[in-house]
Symmetry: C2
Subunit: 364 residues, 2 copies
DNA sequence: GCTCGTTCTGGCATCGATACCACGCCCGCT
DNA sequence: AGCGGGCGTGGTATCGATGCCAGAACGAGC
């Protein structure tokens, strides 16, 4: 007498998930036939098709993606390295966009939060390479060598809101234009003492491995300066404060306090902050001094993350965060097939949009 | 003459990544030996170890995690289903915590944003099951059946900040206590007309598949009511507005406007909002009416997401977001091994913390 | 009657890493 | 001298899905 087939054992809730073999046994056909029904390709007679479909349903079969990937050599995954999805919503916004576009390619996105730690970043890149991801996006880079690691492995790399010497694809917004628009908006309102709070484009120059957003910062600063010049105004060094990073709020805050504590005739009448979070901090400082925004002080932010939730709602330069993520994924996936794209890195440039809300008005 | 071995072909940047076999060929040993060096187990002589390590380095070998997982039957992945990591930072905070704890188990977290769409949610759960994730966390649920889907598959499930009849592990904060503390804080300051803005615990009752955070909402409402009763105050139905969901701001806003437009002697002197985002909206409404916070109106939020960025900084009930995620992962991983845990769902309850900032003060 | 093409089905090697088993060797102990 | 055990190494089945190839059955056309 024949021995009891494997598939007779109870496929209960706690046992291993069913395999193609299990289903084949249950239906009394070969695994090949089950696979054909599953993917609806090849020739299968109506009768056996019904038989197999019943067996599939009974066993609660779910395809094993791990085995499938090994066999087909397609991981269907995209890695995304970034600072942290919280608390700065900028990263979460980009991540969300990348997820949307990845879905169009049947891919899922693996997010790696580095928290600015180069070791975590390196471990993240290596983990992604081991998983054979189809592309890697960098929305922050702490150590430039980690980008090279990915490039050397032959994986398509796209840097988001970041421009460096490393030859990879990139997608950024027109930061110069964004900063110019913001400053011009204040100038057109009649402001003449306009301060700028940003991040030093030259910071990290001593550390060759951490050129944090340098070009982006330079562009924003240039946009501010050029707008002033266009209006025939000199750049007052005392009205420009550049921190070490976007997360270095402490330094920025003390500078702002000095400005706000100055007598009205020497105080800036408007401030352009290159990040909504910094702008939020300034709002609080102004509030503590009973300075009215926009009455005594106009304020423009950057990013449009927190801006709409603030009081008053903040005029800001909107970055198309989700679109940055989407374009990054498309660029990466296109370069997989297009041979020319691999050798000639491409840079996509999106436009920002000045969102005028209630934090800006003509000076008193 | 022997044919040219495979590994002689250039392992250049654009070719397939090296396999154990490639490395073995290069070093002139067996794959078994290479594996032994790689994992530093078993016996390997110093000489061959050096040989193999050189070969590993030369070929830029990165282990193939896909093959490894198929063979070891461990996906080292945890799925996390949530509404969306942006713009509400609550989810991002929980996700971050889950990622941290997952790392302790050598796991990575796969985030699925459902955007409140039951079809996306279902597809997400199925994708996770197909990847054979070791556990699934639900920080939002749109369709209860999707939880059952995961449970039926035998995967450990943990619901975060959510209590339902479905018998799964859960981790929540003490919402009753949080709401009680917030209301009590206002009462102790001397407020007597305290309004409450929340989400209707009975909403979705008509739709059996979408009992959105019902218990959590009930607890928050009860905490508010009980604090009033403790002070011998009646509950004024006109001062309680419950929206359909946290994302249904429109309805909430119109109600708030009605309150704020009322004459001062009928206007609430304080509002307890069960979400920072709602509180931010109230701040803006108050500002537009030139009502001073906390002078004319005190305000308490919930979550501590946006709270510290607002003007004035918002008094709020802090939820330990990251800790929620961490505990959820620990609960899930523990239940994998502990048989008793599977049958007896466990609920962990974390404590909230009232963070007093500048949006609350005694009534005028 | 033979060939050819279409329909239907099963066998099996393969993706890459792992783990078990087997074999050979050298050394020390009885 | 013989034997057991610690070393050092290689062979190979396996995880589960895929896709090529083989082959059988049947009808149509010459």
């Amino acid at each position: 007498m024949a021995s009891i087939p494997d598939w007779v054992v109870d496929q209960g809730r706690s046992s291993r998930p069913a395999t193609l073999k299990d289903v084949a046994g249950r239906a009394g056909v070969s695994v090949t036939t089950v696979a054909r029904v599953l993917h609806d390709n090849g020739y299968v007679s109506g009768a056996t098709k019904d038989l197999v479909e019943a067996a599939l349903a009974e066993s609660g079969y779910q395809i094993n993606a791990v085995a499938q990937r090994l066999r087909t050599q397609r991981s269907a995954e995209i890695g995304h390295i970034l600072h942290s999805i919280s608390p700065n919503p900028f990263f979460a916004g980009v991540a969300l966009g990348s997820e949307q576009a990845a879905a169009d390619y049947g891919c899922t996105v693996l997010i790696h939060n580095t928290h600015g730690d180069p070791d975590i970043e390196r471990a993240g890149v290596e983990a992604l390479l081991q998983r054979r991801v189809e592309a890697i996006l960098f929305t922050t880079v702490t150590d430039e060598r980690n980008v090279l690691l990915a490039v050397a492995a032959g994986v398509p790399v796209v840097q988001v809101e970041r421009v460096t010497e490393t030859a990879t694809h990139a997608v950024t917004v027109d930061n110069y234009r964004g900063a110019f628009d913001a400053t011009e908006h204040l100038l057109l309102l009649g402001h003449r003492r306009i301060a700028c709070l940003g991040v030093n484009p030259n910071s990290g120059a001593s550390n060759a491995n951490a050129p944090h957003r340098r070009v982006v910062e330079q562009e924003r600063l240039s946009g501010y300066i050029d707008a002033l010049l266009r209006f025939g105004l000199p750049v007052d060094d005392g009205l420009v404060i550049l921190g070490e990073s976007y997360y270095d709020l402490a330094a920025v805050c003390t500078s702002v306090r000095r400005w706000l504590d100055a007598p009205a005739d020497r105080r800036p009448t408007a401030i352009f902050a290159t990040c909504d979070i910094i702008a939020a901090g300034i709002l609080q400082e102004a509030y503590a001094r009973k300075l009215r925004v926009p009455g005594d002080l106009s304020l423009v932010g950057f990013d449009d993350t927190y801006a709409s939730y603030l009081t008053p709602p903040l005029t800001t330069v909107r970055q198309p965060m989700a679109e940055l993520g989407r374009v990054a994924v498309r660029l990466a996936m296109a370069s997989r097939t297009d041979a020319a794209a691999t050798t000639h890195p491409q840079t996509e440039r999106l436009t920002t949009q000045l969102i005028v809300r209630a934090s800006t008005a003509p000076p008193a």
